[in-house]
Assembly symmetry: C4
Homo-oligomer: 267 residues x 4
C-alpha cells in the first residue's frame, strides 16, 4: 500500500489514472489558491466572502500538509540507497518549498502575540511559494532553477561586484547630496534606493541629485555603473535564452524520432 | 470575367495596368484613412470637417467591403485544390484583418444602445488594422508576421515566464505596500501596473514603494526581473534584426543576377 | 600659387608647415567657436561680453567663409577628372556642412523681418555643425558617417518599422486616454510624445495612462514595442562597436609593420 | 629584518602565519572603516558615538600610514632591478590609492581655513578608496582594473563620442527650450543633466522638454543617442562578462590539474 501511495503522489506515468487525478487536483488547488490571494486583495471581496476564503485556505493547507507528510513517509522509496532518506528529503529544495508554503497558516498558533502581526503578514507571502510546487508538473518552471544553478559561479561574482558598485554610489551621493537634501538622502542605506533606481535605469524620479557636483557624480556613476549592473542581468537573460532555445531544439528533435523505438521518422 | 477580377485584386504582375491601378488606389485609400484618424484627433478639425470625415469613412468602408466580398468570391481561384476555398479564405489572417477593419463602421447598426458607446469607441481602434492591409503590398510589414511566427514557440514560453514574474512581483508589492499606500496599491491587478513599469525600466514615477521593506523587494525584483523581461524583448529584437539582415543580403544577391534570365551579371 | 593654396587648405602631409599651421588654426577656431556657444548660454556672460562674442563670431564666420570660397576655387585640383568639379564639390557632404555652419550669420541680412526671429534662433543651431568640420582632421568623427552609411539599408527598414509602431501606439493611447485625460493626450501627435518616452524606456513621468484599459495597452505596447525600438538602437550600437574594434585592430596591426617600408617588425 | 617585514606586508604565502595575520588585520580594518562610514551617516549614531568613531578613524589612519611608509621603505625588495624603486612604488596605482585613502585625515592640519570646509567634506570621499586596498587580497576586485585597462583604447574613443553626443544634445535642447523653461534649461551645462538622464534612459522626470520642437529633437536625440551611449556601456559589460567567464573557466581547469605537481587528474 505504501508503494501505491508513493506512485500516486509521484508524477503520473502513462496510464496511471489515480496518480494523474492526484496531480491534476494538486495543480488545480495551487492555481485556485493563488487566484484566492489575488481576489482577497480586493477589500470588498475579502470582507464579503471572508468565510469562503477562510474555508478554502483551511482545505488547501490541509491537503498540502497531508501531501507533505505522505512525501516524507514515502521518502525511503524515493531514495532507496540513502541511509537517512527522510532527512535528505526534508532538506531538499522542493520539500522546503512545500513546508514554507503551508507554514504561514500555522504561525498564528505559535506567535499569537500582536507585536508579530506585521511580520505574520509578511510571512503570508510564503504562500506565494505554492507556485513553485507547480514546478513538479511543468518543466518550464524547472528552467528557473536550472538556469540559476548553471550560472551560479558567474552570478555570485557579478552580484558581489554590483553590490559593491551600489554601495559605493550610495556613499558618494549621500556625502554630496545630504547637506542639501537631508530628507531625500538621510543616510547611506536610504541613498541605496537612489543608486538602485538609477543603475537599473528605472528612474522613478522620487529621489535625484540637485547639486551640480551631485549631478556630475550621478552622470559618471550612471555611465560606468549601468555597464556593471548589466552583467548579472545579461547572465540571467542569456541563461534563460539558451535554456529556451535548447528546449525548442529538443522538442523539434523529438518530432523526428519515434518516441517508442527511437527510429528516425523522416528517412 | 471572374478570372480578370481575381487578377486585378491580386498583387499586380509586370505590365498589368488595371491591377496596378487597383493596388495603388487601395494603398492610397489606406493611407488617407489612417491620416483621417490622426486629423480627427484634433477636436477643432473633427467638428469643422465632420461631414467630410464622415463621407470619407463611408467611401473607405464601402470600397473595403466590396474588396472583401470580391476576395471571398474569387477565393476558389486562389486555392484551386481546396474543398471549401471560401471558408478557408475567410479564416485566413489577412481576411480577418480585412473584416475587422470595416466592422466598427457597421457596429452602431447592431449595437445602437448607448450603453455600448464606450465599447464602440474602442472597437473603432480596429480601423487601425487597415495598416496591416498594406502588408499585401509592402514586404517590410510582412516581416512582423514572419518574425513572430518563426520564434512563436520561444516567445510563448518566455511570455509565460514574464507574466509569472510580473504577477509574483505584483502580489509581493501589494502585500508590502498596501497598508502604507492603499491608494497606489489598492489590489494585485493595480500593483501589476507598478510591476510592468519597473520591469521594463520605464519608471514613470507615478507609483513606487516608500517602505524600507518594499524598496528592498523592489530592488531584488528589479535586478532579477529585468533579466527575465529582457528575454522576449531580446527574442523579438533578435528576430527582426535577423530578418532585416537577411532581407538586405537577399537584395544584394538579386543585384548580381539578371531578374529575367537568372544570369550572373558580374562574371 | 593656386596649387600651393590647395595644398595648404588640404590636410597637412608630413613636413608641410604652412598647411599644418592652417589645419591647427581652423581646428582652434572651431573649438573656440563651440566654446563661445556654450559660454553665451550663460545670460550674465552673454550680456557682459556681448561685444567680444560678436567680434569673435564675425572673425570665425569671416575665416570660414574665405575657407569655403577657397575650397570651391581649388575644387578642380581636388577632382581633376570631373567635368564640373565646383558643382560636384558644392554638393558634397563636407561642403554643405561648411555652408550651413556660416549661413546663420548671413540670415538676418536676408530675413530682417521680426516674424522670422524665432526661426533665426533655430537656424543658429546650424553653427553646431562646425563640430563636423573637425571630421576633416579627426578620423573618430568620420566613423559616424561611415557607420551610418554602412548600415543605411537596414536602418531605413527598421526606422520605418519604429515609426509605424510609434504611430500605432500613439493612436491607440489617444483613443483610450483622451476622454479621461484630454490635456495629456489632446491629439495623436501629442500622444506620440508618450509613445517615444515609453518605447525608449526613458519614462519621464509627465504623461502616462491612468485608465485600466490604457494601462493594459501600455503594458502590451511596452513589451512588444521595446523589442522593435531596440533594433535601430542595436544596429547603430553594433555598427559603432565594430568600427571601433576594427580601428583598434588596425592600429595594433600598424605597430607590427614599419610605416615606411612595410617590413614586418616582430620577425 | 627588513626582508621579514617585506614578507609580512606582502600577500601571505602558504604557511607564513605572521604575514597571514597581517593580511587579515588589514582586511578587517578596511571593512570596519567602510562600515563606520556607513554608520556615521546616521545622524543619531554619529553624535552619540562621536568619540568612538574618532578613535577608530585615528587608529585606522595610523595603521594605514605605517603600512604605507613600510611599503615605501621595502620598495627596493619589490623592484630589485630598478634604479629608483621607491619613486617607482610611490607612483604605482596601489600606492596612490594608499596615500589618498589616508590623506583626508591630514587635510585639516594643512587647510584649517573654514572656507575649505566643504571641499574637505568632499575629500573625505577619498576614504572610500580604502575598498580598493582590498584589491591586494581579492582577485575579483582586480578584475575592475584589468577590464578597464584591456579595453582602454576602445573606451577612450567611445567615451569621446559619448561626450560629443551629450554636449551636442545639451546645446540643441538649451537653444530650443531655454526661452520657454529658463529655470529648467538655464545654460548649456545645466542642459547636460537633461541629456545624460535621457540618453542613459534613466529619465527621472525633473527636466523634460515641453515645446513641440523640443520634443521632436528629444525624440530624434533619444533614438540616435541611446545607440551611441550604449557602446561604452556595452564595452564595459562585455569586458566584465568575458573576465568573469574566463575566471570561472580557469577555476574549472584548476580542478583537473594537481596544484602541486601539475599532473592531469582525470586521465
Amino acid at each position: 500500500m505504501k508503494k501505491r501511495i508513493f506512485e500516486i503522489i509521484s508524477r503520473a506515468e502513462n496510464g496511471d489514472r489515480a496518480s494523474r487525478a492526484f496531480d491534476v487536483s494538486i495543480m488545480a488547488l495551487i492555481i485556485v489558491s493563488i487566484l484566492s490571494i489575488i481576489l482577497q486583495s480586493y477589500a470588498s471581496l475579502a470582507t464579503r466572502y471572508a468565510k469562503a476564503f477562510s474555508i478554502l485556505e483551511t482545505i488547501t493547507v490541509g491537503v498540502f500538509t497531508i501531501e507533505y507528510l505522505l512525501r516524507i513517509w514515502t521518502a525511503d522509496l524515493l531514495y532507496p540507497d540513502v541511509k537517512h532518506p527522510r532527512i535528505k528529503y526534508v532538506l531538499s529544495f522542493m520539500a522546503i518549498i512545500d513546508l514554507l508554503a503551508v507554514l504561514p497558516f500555522y504561525m498564528p498558533f505559535f506567535a499569537a502575540d500582536l507585536r508579530f502581526l506585521r511580520m505574520v503578514r509578511l510571512l503570508r507571502l510564503f504562500r506565494l511559494l505554492r507556485v513553485f510546487k507547480l514546478g513538479r508538473y511543468f518543466d518550464a518552471l524547472q528552467i528557473i532553477v536550472q538556469v540559476l544553478r548553471k550560472s551560479a559561479a558567474q552570478l555570485v561574482i557579478s552580484v558581489v561586484l554590483c553590490l559593491f558598485v551600489m554601495l559605493f554610489s550610495a556613499i558618494v551621493m549621500y556625502t554630496v547630496e545630504n547637506p542639501v537634501q537631508p530628507e531625500q538622502f538621510p543616510n547611506v542605506i536610504a541613498s541605496l534606493w537612489w543608486a538602485i533606481c538609477t543603475l537599473t535605469t528605472v528612474g522613478y524620479g522620487d529621489v535625484y541629485p540637485v547639486t551640480t557636483i551631485g549631478r556630475f557624480f550621478a552622470a559618471v556613476i550612471s555611465l560606468v555603473g549601468i555597464g556593471i549592473i548589466a552583467i548579472p542581468t545579461g547572465i540571467i537573460a542569456g541563461g534563460f535564452s539558451n535554456a529556451i532555445e535548447k528546449k525548442v531544439e529538443d522538442e523539434e528533435e523529438k518530432k523526428h524520432y519515434c518516441p517508442y523505438c527511437g527510429h528516425h521518422l523522416d528517412e
